[in-house]
């Protein structure tokens, strides 16, 4: 393997990592406050389509990114409305979002572009050369050289990881979010408005998932395809658990799972292992997550009040 090959492989891996990372961060933020969001696959689908739509209409990916954030907030608000305002079942609400996303995006794809399966391809997307962030002085160094020519979205993913970490562990709001996830009753006693904090966490998290969706359609690829996000949201969910509900854990897990996604091409290029069927490498994230949950490889514990609706008057 040459240096160039190593670097391209790593860059490719980072491309796969980014959507997983955003999905996982969405999960971290939302579940830290005690709201399970299995609808994040659906939110990513929304983000992917609207991200593409914004980029397509304005011919610049920046508007696409904004569209992704906007639609993420909207769908997140819907989830929050159902689960926080009306104490709906969080898993049911998430399922509804996933199912609606499946149907509605296909509908909109047909309605806006009159095509089925694929949207038109974008010229200006974050993966295009002129939108990449060039750090040419790194180019010749093995491994680090992979960072010489990355999409803006990948850097945004790293920045968001740090931001979520700072938010959760170094601000008052973060402490409140975590209190709401661990013990909402204690939070209420301390004068924290649990509902408002959860609203913030869910909507902000969903905005991240929206960016993650946009990262698929306007960064990793240059268009929307009807199969998106193809389960990336669920890998993100797995990454969140594997990373033990922390931002940097999620980053590590996303990197690992991203590697799993391109394990095929790594095996093919290096020949370090006999050729495996794709199915055998694709299941890795899920098997690892189950192993972690079952306590075979360290133990991953969810926030104590995760998934429980909060009734203020209940004793």
């Amino acid at each position: 393997m040459t240096i160039v090959q190593i670097n391209t492989t790593i860059a490719q891996m980072l491309d796969y990592t980014t959507p997983i990372l955003f999905a996982a961060l969405c999960g971290v933020l939302s579940e830290s406050s005690g709201v399970v969001n299995i609808g994040l696959d659906g939110i990513m689908r929304f983000g992917a389509f609207f991200g593409l739509l914004g980029a397509f209409m304005s011919n610049t990916p920046w508007i696409g990114l904004l569209f992704g954030i906007g639609i993420g907030c909207l769908v997140g608000a819907l989830h929050a409305f159902i689960t926080i305002k009306w104490n709906g079942d969080q898993t049911v609400s998430g399922t509804a979002i996933n199912v609606i996303a499946t149907g509605l995006m296909t509908y909109l794809l047909e309605y806006v572009f009159s095509t089925t399966g694929y949207s038109p391809q974008l010229q200006n997307y974050f993966g295009a050369q002129e939108y990449r962030i060039h750090l040419l002085f790194l180019e010749k160094i093995p491994v680090i050289g992979a960072f010489s020519n990355l999409s803006f979205m990948i850097w945004l993913g790293f920045i968001c990881t740090i931001l979520v970490h700072v938010l959760l562990y170094h601000t008052v709001l973060g402490l409140r979010i975590r209190t709401c996830g661990e013990n909402p009753r204690a939070a209420t006693t301390l004068g924290i408005n649990v509902f408002r904090v959860r609203w913030f966490a869910v909507v902000a998290g969903a905005a991240l998932a929206g960016i993650g969706g946009a990262a698929l359609s306007i960064s990793s690829f240059s268009g929307f395809s009807d199969s998106m996000p193809n389960g990336v949201g669920f890998i993100g969910l797995a990454a969140m658990i594997f990373g033990k509900w922390t931002p940097f854990g999620a980053l590590g897990a996303a990197l690992l799972f991203g590697t799993g996604q391109i394990a095929q091409s790594i095996i093919a290029v290096t020949g370090i292992a006999p050729k495996l069927a794709p199915g055998l490498t694709l299941i890795l994230p899920y098997v690892l997550t189950l192993a972690v949950l079952a306590g075979f490889v360290g133990k991953s514990v969810a926030p104590a009040a995760d998934g429980l609706p909060y009734y203020k008057e209940q004793r």
Partner: protein, 406 residues
């Protein structure tokens, strides 16, 4: 509720008359109906906003759904409706059974495909298929016996595999504390990738065929009987109705069912009561997941033995997810699940025709998702419904009278 015996009988079918549930009363029937109604209205708005005629669209949707008899195409549509419904009812029953026990089996999807692939395997695997083929020739005009046996074996083994797949999630839950939702989601994707990206494109593909052709076709003896000849209607709908009856019987007429419901009723508060009663909660949970997986896998067997006759390379996910919607709309009661399954099956059948009005057939997903969404919002739906009923009652009889009655 007035003591009208007809109404009571109607409600009893939905399992609503029992003493313990009187508090939750007739709204259990109204909430899903209202959710569907609201979903259809929002769907209409979506169509209208995108500049199409919602009335024409719905006329196509319901006209070709197989629900309304008449017309030359009706037998075919009716058959399609029943074939599709059978699969959705099966996965719906699976999710409903687990709901009754207080568990969210989101893994019906994976169990469905595990059942499908195992049924495929025993449908074409030469030792089995060959034996039944010989038997069929030997029996001559009695060949249907061989078909019956082979089909039964495929379905039983498929169901067993799906049940085992689900029971594994139950095992991880009771022994290792793995949240059932997360566990079954992970198992879904493991099953899906192992099947579609390994088995179907590798070991189970006929060597002479191309990469994209799917698995071997099952032997003729493994196929389900057709019961309405020009159409592809097969026995799956009868089998699934039997399964629904069995589920109802298991839940309401057996000790296991009673214990499952006891676990479900107390699932949120630590299951102390069933434990104190001496119920082996862990064991029941694993068994319940096994039954649930069996039901989902039954749907997978229908998919292969009744429709596709092979595991196609083009299979797409969704049957298990739809099953969640079916179970929720059916309020987890077997009879409700059957009706909800028929409704979703009708939507799916009719949605194909909406393409004439430039509406993609995934439109039915929108309706389904919205209905599930409104059910998630059921606290709000119940709140406004009760408020509305109260206001109407206040209008109907003056307050003084009401007080006297009380």
């Amino acid at each position: 509720m007035s003591e009208n015996s007809g109404t009571n009988k109607f409600l009893r079918i939905f399992g609503i008359d029992n003493q313990g549930r009187k508090r939750r009363d007739p709204l259990n029937v109204w909430v899903p109906l209202i959710s569907i109604g609201l979903a259809l209205v929002v769907g209409m708005i979506v169509i209208a906003v995108s500049g199409r005629n919602p009335f024409r669209a719905y006329a196509l949707l319901f006209g070709d759904s197989g629900l309304i008899p008449g017309g030359s195409a009706w037998p075919r549509e009716f058959a399609e409706l029943l074939i599709k419904s059978a699969m959705y009812i099966a996965t719906g029953l699976a999710v409903a059974l687990a709901f009754k026990g207080g568990l969210f089996n989101i893994g019906a999807e994976g169990q469905f495909w595990v059942g499908a692939i195992v049924a495929t395997f025993f449908g074409y695997w030469s030792p089995v298929a060959g034996a039944f083929g010989t038997m069929a020739t030997a029996l001559g005009s009695m060949a249907w016996i061989a078909q019956l046996l082979h089909g039964a074996i495929c379905i039983i083994l498929g169901m067993f595999a799906g049940g085992a797949w689900a029971a594994f999630a139950g095992f991880l839950y009771v022994k290792r504390g793995v949240n059932i939702v997360i566990g079954t989601i992970m198992l879904n994707w493991i099953a899906w990738f192992l099947i579609t990206n390994w088995l179907v494109t590798g070991p189970m593909t006929p060597p002479t065929q191309t990469f994209t052709s799917g698995t071997y076709y099952v032997a003729d003896t493994a196929k389900l009987f057709r019961i309405m000849m020009p159409t592809r209607l097969n026995t799956s709908i009868i089998l699934v109705l039997l399964a629904a009856y069995a589920t109802w019987f298991l839940l309401y007429k057996t000790t296991i069912g009673y214990e499952i419901r006891a676990i479900g009723h107390t699932a949120n508060i630590g299951m102390e009561a069933p434990k104190a009663q001496g119920i082996n909660v862990n064991r029941r949970i694993v068994q319940m997941m096994f039954f649930s997986g069996c039901l989902a896998a039954l749907g997978g067997c229908f998919f292969i033995l009744g429709m596709q006759y092979q595991f196609p390379n083009t299979a797409t996910m969704g049957y298990g997810w739809t099953g969640i919607g079916v179970a929720l709309i059916g309020q987890s009661e077997p009879i409700g699940v059957v009706l909800a399954g028929l409704f979703i099956g009708a939507l799916r059948t009719g949605a194909t025709s909406m393409q004439v009005a430039n509406i993609p057939k995934t439109f039915s997903n929108i309706i389904e998702g919205l209905a599930v969404g409104f059910i998630a919002l059921q606290v709000a739906v119940r709140y406004y419904l009760v408020k509305y009923l109260q206001r109407r009652r206040a209008h109907a009889d003056p307050p003084a009278e009401q007080e006297a009655a009380a």
